[in-house]
């Protein structure tokens, strides 16, 4: 009985002739590259090449008066540094990204904690939570534009009837009001998915750990601080980075809601690039601002990818 397998091993044929020479791996790699080719070609043609040529435009003058891009070195970037408006849009972007990210994460976390309790109607509420997510972004923006509308908006109607304001307010025509409106809209749209992330994290939490903490004397606040937050840390990191990236890229909701106004109050970088390119037709400047805009996204994206790869 012990003899048979010992004899069978050497005489049984190897899985593949290549395997014996250690050549199977190299062969597999070659085949792998062949499979990759269509994706690489598509990626290069559709993403990489336009991206690189757009980057190239950042170093040229290319506007309505120049039929061909003219290389001008770093002149566009010097112009950006000298332009208070464009520098202002960096500040606006920073304000918008910070507010939208902080409120999205805070509201989604609170909402997830509520939905993680057991109460009647929880399943319904969980489903309803996803509604803002399935609405197209521009539809959501118009819903909020209507809410904030100065003449027939719901917000004015509600505040007037509660006696909080005496006259209808033109929310979207003040700088602070417009910024608040775009932040609220963005938060409203982002909360569902973010909540889902947090809920998934909460559901993998060990119930007995919280029970043990309760017996040890932990209050709700202690449970949150000492047990739930440390448990959610990896989720929080991913959510934060994704939110920052998403908010840096934000365009459609802001454009639909305020168009970047009033004046430049909500002109974030994405709107700035759009205006430079398609209002002023200054493609060179647009590309230069776009290059800097991409540069702002690289650090969080890098963090995110490193986090993903570390776990893999």
């Amino acid at each position: 009985m012990s003899v048979a397998p010992a004899r069978a091993l050497p005489s049984s044929p190897p899985v593949s002739r290549l395997a014996a020479r250690g050549g199977l791996k190299a062969g597999e790699r070659r085949v792998g590259w062949i499979f990759m080719v269509p994706a690489l070609v598509a990626f290069t043609a559709v993403i990489l090449w336009p991206f690189i040529s757009a980057l190239g435009l950042a170093f040229t003058r290319y506007d309505l008066r120049t039929p061909e891009p003219i290389f001008i070195g770093l002149a566009n970037f010097r112009a950006i540094l000298a332009s208070p408006q464009i520098l202002g849009s960096f500040v606006t972007t920073f304000v918008f990204v910070t507010l939208a990210t902080v409120f999205t994460v805070a509201v989604a976390l609170a909402w997830a904690l509520i939905l993680n309790q057991s109460f009647r109607g929880r399943a319904l509420l969980r489903t309803a939570t996803l509604i803002p997510w399935v609405l197209p972004a521009t539809v959501a923006a118009f819903v909020w534009a209507w809410i904030f509308n100065s003449r027939f908006g719901v917000l004015n109607a509600a505040l007037l009837s509660m006696g909080i304001i005496d006259l209808p307010q033109a929310w979207l025509s003040t700088s602070a009001g417009a910024m608040t409106a775009v932040v609220i809209t963005k938060v409203w749209i982002s909360v569902p998915v973010t909540t889902t992330f947090f809920l998934a994290g909460l559901q993998s939490m060990d119930r007995e750990q919280i029970d043990a903490a309760r017996v040890d004397g932990a209050s709700d606040w202690h449970v949150l601080r000492d047990h739930i937050m440390p448990h959610l840390r990896p989720v929080l990191l991913v959510v934060l980075v994704l939110a920052v990236i998403g908010n840096l890229q934000q365009f459609d909701k802001i454009f639909a809601l305020t168009g970047g106004g009033p004046v430049r109050a909500t002109t974030v970088l994405s709107i700035e690039v759009y205006r430079l390119a398609f209002d002023s037709w200054d493609i060179g400047m647009a590309a230069a601002v776009g290059l800097l805009w991409v540069a702002t996204i690289v650090p969080p994206a890098f963090l995110y990818l490193r986090h993903l790869l570390k776990d893999a």
């Binding site: 043990a212 309760r214 017996v215 004397g217 932990a218």
Partner: protein, 343 residues
């Protein structure tokens, strides 16, 4: 140290009743073990005692004070969970000192108490580690250490050793016995393990389907089980049950005989049967005997030196003074008067 009284305690989850009318008095420094089949409500009872779940009706009294509405941390109770429930992101030392930190105990005092507990449980070199860097047995000791550090009045253990291998379980059992000696704290301990229950308990509480079947010292339960549930639950291998009529006692519905009291003899000395299985443990030998008219095989515990073979025709007999009589409801009956009876 504390006394603890449960009276008329009921608990339902939704419409499902889980505990019915539990009455129990636990004395100061007593070690009480809850045993019972899975799902009978042992963990639920522990959670009610430490305040993690609320009591539907009835009262829980600790040291003469009704604590139904007192939050867990204020009951002076520490609990060791079956899953250990260590805090994964805290070091061993922080795990153990957590309750004291929450209570605002000065740092030096926390360190002193953590160190003292660590010494008792030989955790000293592990204090800086995280729970995931520990073995199962070490985690178990940390969980116990976390309970000791608080110097509670009552310890609750929910199957604390069930995740450990057999050898480690023996060690930890000894450690818990030593702890009981040293601290003298009131302890309530849930287990599935016969040996843990018999060796650790001052009193055993046998539960079944949300009720207490019997409370008594380990030997009391072993020698005078109040009903067939207790009779079958205490003792391993479990008590044999034979129809009363079959062994010449038609007044009793069933006669229970422990394996060590079953006598095995050659054919013609009692109930005829056939040996179907033999388990040789070295010192002991368990013979499983099939008997016509008895549902389960009767297990006889014999001396390890005996020769018994599968397929052998044998006969078994039982003594009236070592057997237990149960009525049709499974309740214990007084011994019959005919003094010696062999079937």
């Amino acid at each position: 140290m504390a006394t603890l009284q449960l009276s008329g305690v009921c608990k339902s989850f939704g419409t499902t009743p889980v505990l019915h009318d539990i009455d129990l008095d636990i004395g100061e420094g007593e070690f009480v073990v809850f045993v019972g089949p899975s799902g009978c409500g042992k963990s639920t009872l522990l959670r009610l005692i430490c305040g993690l779940d609320t009591i539907d009706s009835g009262t829980l009294t600790i040291d003469g004070e009704i604590v139904n509405d007192v939050p867990p941390a204020k009951r002076g109770i520490a609990m060791v969970f079956q899953s250990y429930a260590l805090y994964p992101h805290m070091s061993v030392a922080s795990n153990m000192g957590y309750a004291l930190r929450l209570a605002g105990t000065p740092k030096a005092e926390i360190e002193r108490r953590v160190e003292a507990a660590a010494n008792v449980l030989r955790l000293g070199p592990l204090l800086k580690r995280k729970p995931r860097q520990l073995s199962g047995g070490q985690r178990q000791r940390v969980a116990i250490g976390r309970a000791i550090v608080r110097e509670p009045n009552v310890f609750l253990f929910d199957e604390p050793l069930s995740n450990l291998d057999a050898a480690l379980r023996v060690d930890m059992r000894a450690e818990i016995a030593a702890l009981k000696q040293r601290l003298g704290t009131t302890m309530i301990y849930v287990t599935h393990d016969q040996i843990e229950a018999m060796t650790l308990a001052d009193r055993i509480v046998v539960m079944n389907a949300g009720r207490i079947e019997q409370v008594g010292s380990p030997l009391e339960l072993y020698r005078r089980p109040a009903n067939r549930v207790v009779a079958r639950f205490i003792g391993s291998p479990r008590m044999n049950l034979l129809p009363g009529a079959l062994v010449g006692d038609p007044a009793a519905a069933e006669i229970g005989v422990r394996p060590e009291h079953v006598r095995l003899a050659g054919v013609g000395h009692g109930l005829a049967g056939t040996v179907r299985m033999v388990e040789h443990l070295g010192s002991d030998l368990f013979a499983h005997v099939e008997i016509a008219g008895v549902e389960e095989r009767v297990v006889a515990r014999l001396d390890g030196g005996r020769e018994v073979h599968v397929g052998e025709a044998v006969s078994i007999s039982v003594d009236a003074d070592t057997s237990h009589r149960f009525d049709a409801q499974g309740k214990r009956m007084a011994p019959a008067h005919n003094d010696r009876r062999t079937a």
